[in-house]
Amino acid sequence: MTDATLSAAPAAAPKPRASLLIADERTRKRNAAESRFRAYGLSAIGIALIALVVLLSSVLTDGIGAFRQTYLTLPVALDSARLDKNGNRDPEDIKKATTLTYGKLLDQAVQNTVAQQGIAIAGLTEKDVSDLVSKEASAQLRNRVIANPELIGQTVDARVLVNGRVDGYYKGRVSMDSAARDSNTSPAQLQLADALKDKGLLATQWNWSFLTNPDASDQRPEAAGVGVAILGSLYMMLVVLVLAVPIGVAASIYLEEFAPKNRLTDIIEVNISNLAAVPSIVFGILGLAAFINFAGLPQSAPIVGGLVLTLMTLPTIIIATRAALKAVPPSIRDAALGVGASKMQSVFHHVLPLAMPGILTGTIIGLAQALGETAPLLLIGMVAFVKNFPAAPPEGLFDPASALPVQVYNWTQRADPAFFERASGAIIVLLVFLLCMNILAIFLRRKFERRW
């Protein structure tokens, strides 16, 4: 065969020799196709980058305001006749004074301060002046006094929240024009705020309380924070970590290394892939039916959220873990079996360490996915308004809590634009968490990856 070809070759007409310096038709076509493909790729990456930049910049510009808050510093006389009628500083008695009482004290304090500073309040009623302060301020003052009863009778310097409109004025959300059309504030009130700012009593400062405060009602966006949501999300991640990781990794090791390859395991494999593609809200319905209606677990509780998210994350973890196990060369298994290691020894001594980086990455990606999941949590009642912090785990897992993505959803539903700012702020917090988890995944991958 080879001989025949060789002898036949000289017989054919000699091909004219083309110059290497000139690209022929086919080469030009090939090169053009290649450069077209590169252009497509570059433009795809370009579009993705632009989208990312637009997304991040819009979230950051909208949300950064949530991390700054306007406060009014003013002396408040804590009248002992009003706060502690019996005068014996009994904690029970002190608690009897409601926020209404504190509200009146605050109103008085604001009006006194304005008068002392000699600020003209033409066109403002007394109520307009005292409304400068947030409705939440009285509750915060009350909490401070309850924690520290000896303050009663003194005049303390209180740093209180101003209302959402005035706060929005200093963040560019509210203008004199919009205030003129707003029933909750007026240009005169904003001018008063400006005057107080000139006197150094009112300032916009860094707002830690956004991270530590619980949610607040519709009228008090300035007091709302993601504290309960962060805690709820952390509790759920704890549940997912404790349940999904061991179950998922054990299931994948069994399926990949021990289970016989037959019809049943094929069906299981297909179904795991299908489960990964099931819309998350379906898991929410399952959670509602199984954990709340059937098992009788409480609504809005992180334990239920965690269980639902565990179900949702399991397929992701199993698929990632199986892929990592599959990627370990079979020669390593042979080597271990060849020196008389049992199946389990070969898996745990050799295969698992090599698959570890992949397993960790898959697990963390699964957790990150769970952290950002909203739909199933809506169905199990985590969208409820939760003002109280859950207790420490394990009991706290059964207390009502919120979750970061649900908090975002919740706030975007509210009318006051101040909540939109809060929602964007919560998105920033969520993104920071996700970023941290991804960095952790990369770090662990580097650490465990042994390239020898």
């Binding site: 020669s331 390593i332 042979d334 020196v339 008389g340 049992s342 090599l354």
Partner: protein, 265 residues
């Protein structure tokens, strides 16, 4: 041919380490090994030769039940190690593999240190009571694999950092460290350069003093150089089995003659 084999068995009955009778191997529907009878003597190098796909590696993997890891494979017949059927239900393949070690075609050291590679087998089988004994086993095994002088100063370095030939000798050391009785080698030199090959061949010749060695090879020269007994496989059949000298000089079967003279394969 049968007569000859019977005669041979009568002569050195006592030395027989592994004897296979009517072995059939199926991969799904494929009948990969057909009715193979063979006796492997102790302290002898037995070579399995034959064209690609003839079943020699498959048969080798039957001898320590490595085929068990392939779901669709099925083995019939009897393979006796020291008179015990290794396919008996009561036999734990893990225990068997500790006695019948294996070296693979491609060097496959663990991604661990040289020391840990060799020490792994003794550790899991509890062959050493303390660190000193383990050190001794590691040194002895590495010496046995003619690798000690090259690696004694860098035992903590990764085994995968060695050259191909050194890696394969490390794998031999790892197999030797579990103190097996039989060493199976599946084309151990096919991934090695000629110098490394000759080192491994010398090593095989030395190992013969302690073990029964079964080697699958593609190279007839290698079979002629290292083995005392040779089995020629063709299309799943054991065509001819006998002294290496006889197979290469006076093959009985026309197929063997065609193969060793390069006409089939």
């Amino acid at each position: 041919m049968n007569d000859m084999r019977l005669l041979e068995r009568a002569v050195d009955q006592t030395d027989i380490k592994i004897s296979a009778r009517n072995v059939q191997v199926y991969y799904g529907d494929k009948h990969a090994i057909k009715d193979v009878d063979v006796d492997i003597q102790d302290k002898t190098v037995t070579a399995f030769i034959g064209p690609s796909g003839c079943g020699k590696s498959t048969f080798l993997r039957c001898l320590n039940r490595m085929n068990d890891t392939i779901d669709i494979s099925r083995v019939e017949g009897k393979i006796m190690l020291d008179g015990e059927d290794i396919y008996d239900k009561r036999v734990d393949p893990v225990q068997l593999r500790a006695r019948v070690g294996m070296v693979f075609q491609k060097p496959n050291p663990f991604p661990k240190s040289i020391y840990d590679n060799v020490a792994y087998g003794p550790r899991i089988h509890g062959l050493a009571r303390n660190r000193a004994e383990l050190d001794e086993i590691v040194e002895k095994s590495l010496r046995g694999a003619a690798l000690w002088n090259e690696v004694k100063d860098r035992l903590a370095e990764p085994g995968t950092g060695l050259s191909g030939g050194q890696q394969q000798r490390l794998c031999i050391a790892r197999a030797v460290a579990t103190q097996p009785e039989v060493l199976l080698m599946d084309e151990p030199c096919s991934a090695l350069d000629p110098i490394a090959t000759s080192q491994v061949e010398d090593l095989i010749d030395q190992l013969r003093a302690e073990f029964s060695v079964v080697i699958v090879t593609h190279s007839m020269q290698q079979a002629a150089r290292v083995s005392q007994k040779t089995a020629f496989f063709h299309l799943g059949n054991l065509v001819e089995f006998g002294d290496t000298d006889d197979i290469f000089t006076r093959p009985q079967d026309p197929r063997t003659e065609s193969y060793i003279s390069g006409r089939i394969g």
